[in-house]
Symmetry: C3
Subunit: 355 residues, 3 copies
């Protein structure tokens, strides 16, 4: 089965990702050509938890294509969020809108919503699970700023254990030839083993580092993320290490002139403000690339009839997913959809193992 | 006196309702012809209580006509709602917008607002009192799906005592020839006597039923609404009867093939989810018909100079309305407007008797 | 240095104010000519505290120019407001939008935001500090209704000590020839001394009055504002004086036929409702003039290349501003910018003296 929903960037082929990136670049070069591309079309932004920047990025993207937007950002005040099933809300909204962008704190919600949508649906974040348009943002930025998506040495720094944006970026860039990674974090916050598996399966070189200062010297790209204080092993470790993973002027002076710095934002204090004006600091421009990536995505889902995303082969499992954060826990009518991976049965909504 | 405000569907003639329905069907058939019908016009949606679906329906309707929208949905955060009189808010907003859609938890607020609006004003619900565009939604759906508004046998099921949508639907359909009703509810939740009066005055046949299962067999239309648990006479009655008024596969199997199922939404559990894919289940499509009905309404109020709604003849009564839910309680400057009905003096805002 | 940001109306020359007023009048006369003036442009309304009327006025202004809007009005739910610096938010948003309108409860925030914006930025109110588009509203109203901005006798009534709209209006009108003022308030709520200084420097005649009734007779303009009950010296004074500064029918009867009444709104009870229909009562029409003033402002900032606003000459002071309400207290990366005035060092953000 095929569909027009972007739930997980993993479902796209390299060719499809490249197509989106090329479209984003084309829009960027001639925005006026696309000013009426979505005239008369409506995007619904259903934000069950606030994410002002992501929502404004999608709204701006649609407006710059000539389309219009409806939606909510205010779950507590919204009658939609009160007592109505996700299925019913999506069934109604997909009668109003031409494309839906959904964000929800519960894992698997976008996949669940896509089962009932009559129109293309985009995952704007489902709990700590997936956020594919952030990775699309990163990819568009790399393509535009480095001129390629392959043969790069990428440092990823921060909380590599919990950072979904980092995992998704590694999974995507591992598909391109010649990329290598430097994984910079505390020991406790190293990448999960399944990410190492993916790197090895794709023959990606990687190094592990515990010092940004040591690692920064020969990177093409530095992807910074936040480490929360409470993620350190102990208060003592936090005090000892708190500056080790902060990018400041001193560390940046060791970097190459053509290294670029990315960050998914919001930043807290992991990049000092005095670096913002350095030409290598691209995190604000990256947000703008994200808007162009979203324009490309909306346009492609609405107009490119050949852009079809394959659905996973699923079966109905006997057991319900037991992940307490999974959408199947709160939306009782959902089927027990699962798929096979390495001999295990995985929940089709939250991608956790079903026993 | 005449006006361009839709406060109560009762104020429209059958010809006017038919005109709106015809216009809605015309838009549905050729939406592209109307894509610029309201270019440059602005709809203000003033939602003093959240009703996300109604608000999105109005916004979508205006956007699909080429117009634009402003408004709020967030009464607690809104400076408009804080300390400013309804009169002042409406006086200012009607200087910005070309048409106003207002929802408010207090009865009679739409009528009160219309006194101070320089532009057409639409009631999107004023407490438990009136919600005319829901009935317009129902009427457009029936017209499109049954091909007529007369000679139907309509079952209404659920809380018939408190359901304003049911009352308004019965009052409207009673004006068309040959309609009959089956009133399906618990004894405690039967329709109010004044609705029986209306049915009898209009020579509408009606039956009373306490079992959806018994009644469903020869209906053209089944209009489902919710019964809240606390509306049953006692917890024992709730336990004994809780499934009697739930539409499930078993009961639906007794219905005719061409019966259609409507519901004003949101649904809770009075229709089981396994019925949603039955071709007779039209409640999601009904929401879409509602959007077309609202497009027809906005367009007609803005552009059809002959579409004039007569105001009731009112007088100023000595006594203020004593209904604690009436807008006259909170907005001190409002006059004591009343009208005569069956020899009684009725409040022009909330339609309750003034003594 | 020059910029395209409207932070303080004081930064504009009389010629620039006149240009905005003329533009507003031109738009008012031929709105259709401007319906596509901002096609494809986006206004971001960043409202960190709710001000529904101001926000809707800006949104309407942009929509009537053919542009579109994004933004938020909901600081508590907004991820932008949570933990992200003003600098980062503005850096991102100015990559999406063509012009920014910002409101914030903290003094100096608009000035601070303008340092990091790539696009023109408009101050929509920063705490009790400045609100330049309210004064623009007043000026457009006066120009349209009196046909001039000079040789008027203007009464300002209410809380003259704390009312920023009154101060800003006096400062602006003092620049035009032949204006005189009647300052009507309790003794405790008289205008601050620096306003008297400005009047005297500009050779403006002024009188002080403690009675609206006595003063109203020979005014061209009466500008009403609210006195809060708690601003009176004592409960006894409140009781004794509460009606002295309320405009009612009796006092209005002493006014000239061509006097006009303005009010920045929201009104509480300082103007009785029975006056609203008097042709001299222009406060609701004033809100509409404000919308045209904002249209003129947006259009001018986006399109008039000659409309450049001079920045103050600043230096970096040794001491940080100690005003607890100043934006420099919460946004640590801001420089200690100051300017000289009468030999004192003033904070460039909040305009308070730095010691």
């Amino acid at each position: 089965m095929i569909n027009k929903n972007l739930i997980d960037l993993e479902a796209l082929s390299v060719e499809q990702i490249d197509k989106l990136v090329r479209k984003a670049r084309k829009i960027m070069q001639n925005p006026a050509d696309f000013r009426h591309a979505c005239d008369g079309k409506i995007l619904a932004t259903l934000f069950y938890e606030p994410s002002t920047r992501t929502q404004m990025s999608f709204q701006t993207a649609m407006l710059k294509l000539g389309g219009r937007t409806i939606g909510f950002d205010n779950p507590m005040n919204s009658s939609v969020a009160k007592g109505e099933s996700l299925k019913d809300t999506i069934s109604v909204i997909s009668g109003y809108a031409d494309v839906i962008a959904i964000r929800h704190p519960v894992e698997g919600t976008a996949m669940a919503a896509s089962l009932y949508s009559e129109v293309p649906l985009i995952n704007c974040g489902d709990g700590g699970h997936l956020h594919p348009t952030q990775t699309l943002t990163d990819i568009v930025t790399l393509s535009c700023e480095k001129g390629r998506l392959d043969h790069m040495k990428i440092g990823v720094c921060g909380d590599l254990l919990n950072g979904r944006t980092v995992h998704s970026l590694i999974k995507t860039l591992a598909k391109y030839e010649g990329n290598s990674f430097v994984l910079i974090s505390t020991k406790e916050l190293s990448v999960p083993l399944y990410i190492i598996d993916i790197l090895e399966k794709n023959n990606c070189a990687y190094e592990i580092s515990h010092s940004l200062s040591d690692a920064i010297g020969d990177l093409d790209v530095l992807y910074m993320t936040r480490i929360q204080r409470e993620r350190f092993g102990s208060p003592e470790e936090y005090e000892a290490q708190k500056y080790v993973f902060v990018l400041d002027r001193e560390k940046l002076d060791k970097a190459r002139e053509d290294m670029i710095i990315l960050h998914p934002l919001p930043r807290v204090n992991e990049i000092t403000v005095d670096i913002d004006d350095d030409p290598r600091a691209l995190y604000f421009k990256q947000a703008q690339y994200g808007m162009y990536g979203r324009m490309a995505l909306i346009l492609t889902l609405l107009q490119d009839e050949d852009f079809l995303i394959p659905s996973r082969e699923t079966e109905t499992s006997l057991h319900r997913c037991s992940n307490p954060k999974c959408v199947t826990q709160s939306e009782a009518y959902l089927p027990n959809l699962s798929y096979r991976k390495l001999g295990m049965q995985m929940c089709d909504f939250c991608d956790k193992r079903i026993d």
